[in-house]
Amino acid sequence: MDFELSEDEGALARALRSICANRFPLESLRSRELQPDTVDRESWRELAEAGVFSLRTSEDGGGLGLGAAAVSVVFEELGRALVPGPLVASELAASIIGMTGGTEGNAGSPLPAGGPLPAGGPLPAGGLLAGQVRAGVALVGQIHLGDSWERAGGSFPGSGRGRDGILVEHLASLDALVVVSERCLQVVDPRVVDAEPVDRSLDPLTPLWRVARLPEGEEVGGPEHSRRWRSEEVLLGAALCVGVAAATLDMAVAYAMQRRQFGRPVGSFQAVKHICADMLVRVEESRCALHAAALAIDQPGVGDPVRSVAGAALLATRAALACSKACIQVHGGMGFTWEIPAHLYLARSRVLASAMPGAGELEEVVASRL
């Protein structure tokens, strides 16, 4: 057993961090605030070149043939850099739909495998892997994480549909829209979707569209594929959350070091130190939970993937929300200004959390696997 990052995993993380720093520096992200298209194709292709969308696709299928652990390392970096765009859906579309072969790492895992899908469907694997095709997602209804899990009385709020119909992120940037329902996976041409742009979305870097009714698309997978999509979507969302939490921790510590009141850095006050220390605990806990969940998918027998994915998602969303809030608190009045990017992390945490099952549901999943 060696739970440290391998040399390759560490190199992957460093490579991603440097690409994010070069391609997505905060200043250039901020110039796209409140725009309908937050990420240009050139940058997307660069992410693809770094392997972001081909990590889990088998080497035969033109991918890197890596497992969930590698993806979670990469997605933490994307979350940390606040990279906008349909990251999770594009990665999943490549590894679940675009794939021409099954995931190697998934064999024998208790997660629904889905199995290989036919090549040449509506989502060309090559385009996804190369970053030429950007895929988004619309979740319809509820898909429960635990296969054996029966809801403990009553229903949990569906993650997809709000009062406003279905909200689709980044619609204007999409080449394909994957509609995920309990019954199947479908691919819809985003250009034929009757959608209304939302005036202003909470996250200035996540534009939204309201869709009252989705057209029928081409069916590309069954219930097993939907369940697999949902589980991995939750895992990748958790990874982005860990990144967001880690970034806000760094920001808070840097500010506490630099901001002086009463003739000394505010970080010298125990009240501020304790806020930062609590953030650190949340980041470390959720990152370890995330990696353990990823390995539970990659390495059959090391853990219960359903339980650990739900647990990691619970801790990671909590960490992102709590840390981005704490980061604003450490910044005092500055944290409450638009100019300081702390609020972008706060809003992103909400976006990520809203794509997850609610905390109550995740807790029930974990409890049901005890």
Partner: protein, 389 residues
């Protein structure tokens, strides 16, 4: 202990209810949050209506133009306003709750005559120019300099986070008149007309995307010595009078509004089926219990103020608890809304704005220090001790 209101208090309630029922029907549309001129007109228009009906300053003393009501009557007043969903104080906040009470307590006869009536009548808007870029929690570090020149102070420096500065006529300004490093002992409290030459207001954008506060740049602004409230270099004490008011009944309207929100959330959760989620239901119950307790604490505070004339420690306890509670309520509302909360609207606005509560008017960390040190008598932290002397 007795939670029942007296006959006179109930009488006030009845007459208020009758008056509100009539007056609220004729109110104009609520302005958009970013239309500052309209906001000023709306808030001042409402204050004018209160004033004309004799409710302009329910808790202000009679000789200051107020109604001279007891704190309990003030509570009844706020309760009825909230129940009827009447407008809040809005941009009248600093005048009615900070600057006015400070001038009542510390101003000269001429200052009381000049400034108090326009506040009550909804004619003048005030803002608070205390904080500076390097003097937030450490307010005594403020550097904005005032130099005496004949009958004027010449003031230069920078203020920040000045709420509603863009619509204010007057500013309660803290300036440095003592030597550099004189801290609390070298601060003076001035009334600065916002249209004086040399005052520049630059709105700042908040994380909610609005411009609730501004930066003030002061370049050799001449302020008559007659605008000084209290003695030169005694401004710290004068300002603390303001803070005592800030922690009295200032949040009653919002507390009652929060209790109403809990009722609405419960009703909408039942309608949408979310009520079946035990976790959300329990969170609602837990927050409602805490709000009930804060309502009880408010009545305890008001009773204490009625008996002794000054708000007790309860105000600081309230500020700390309520600030964090508002954030938990907003979190819950966002969770209940789920994906819909990603569309900017009331829940998002409350959620994002709730973050200022643990920062503005003394951060929660500083509030905890105050409770621990001033109320519980625990030793001061070394860093603040050396500076406060």
């Amino acid at each position: 202990m007795d939670l029942r209101y007296s006959a006179e208090e109930e009488e006030l309630r009845r007459s208020l209810r009758a008056w509100l029922a009539g007056v609220l029907r004729g109110l104009p549309q609520k302005p958009r949050p970013d239309d500052w001129d309209a906001r000023r007109r709306y808030d001042m228009g409402w204050q004018r209506l209160l004033y004309e009906a004799g409710y302009g300053g329910v808790d202000w003393p009679k000789d200051a133009g107020g109604r001279g009501s007891s704190p309990v009557e003030q509570l009844v007043f706020l309760e009825e306003l909230q129940r009827a969903r009447a407008p809040g104080v809005g941009v009248g906040f600093v005048g009615l709750l900070h600057a006015g009470p400070t001038i009542i307590a510390e101003g000269s006869a001429a200052q009381r005559a000049r400034y108090l009536q326009p506040i009550l009548a909804g004619e003048e808007v005030w803002c608070q120019g205390f904080s500076e870029p390097d003097a937030g929690s450490d307010l005594a570090a403020l550097k904005t300099r005032a130099v005496r020149d004949g009958d004027d102070y010449v003031v230069s420096g920078q203020k920040i986070w000045t709420s509603h500065a863009q619509v204010a006529d007057l500013c309660e300004l803290l300036v440095r008149t003592g030597t550099e490093g004189s801290r609390h002992r070298g601060i003076t409290w001035l009334v600065m007309p916002m249209d004086a030459p040399g005052v520049e207001v630059r709105p700042l954008r908040t994380i909610a995307g609005s411009s609730e506060f501004s930066e003030l740049f002061l370049d050799e602004v001449r302020i008559p010595v007659a605008n000084r409230v209290g003695a030169e270099n005694d401004g710290w004490r004068v300002a603390m009078v303001t803070f005592a008011f800030e922690r009295g009944t200032a949040f009653v309207a919002e507390l009652l509004e929060s209790m109403e929100l809990m009722r609405l959330l419960a009703a909408s959760a039942k309608e949408s089926g979310i009520w079946d989620d035990p976790c959300l239901r329990q969170r609602l119950g837990s927050l409602a219990a805490e709000l009930d307790a804060l309502w009880a604490l408010t009545r305890r505070n008001v009773s204490e103020a009625s008996r002794s004339g000054v708000p007790g420690i309860g105000g600081s306890v309230f500020k700390l608890a309520f600030s964090e509670l508002r954030q938990s309520m907003a979190d819950l509302w966002m969770d209940i809304e789920g994906r819909s909360a990603l569309v900017w609207g009331e829940p998002a606005d409350m959620w994002v704005n709730s973050l200022s509560r643990t920062i503005a008017a003394g951060t929660s960390q500083v509030q905890r220090n105050i409770l621990a040190e001033r109320v519980l008598g625990l030793p001061k932290e070394p860093s603040t001790r050396t500076l406060e002397g």
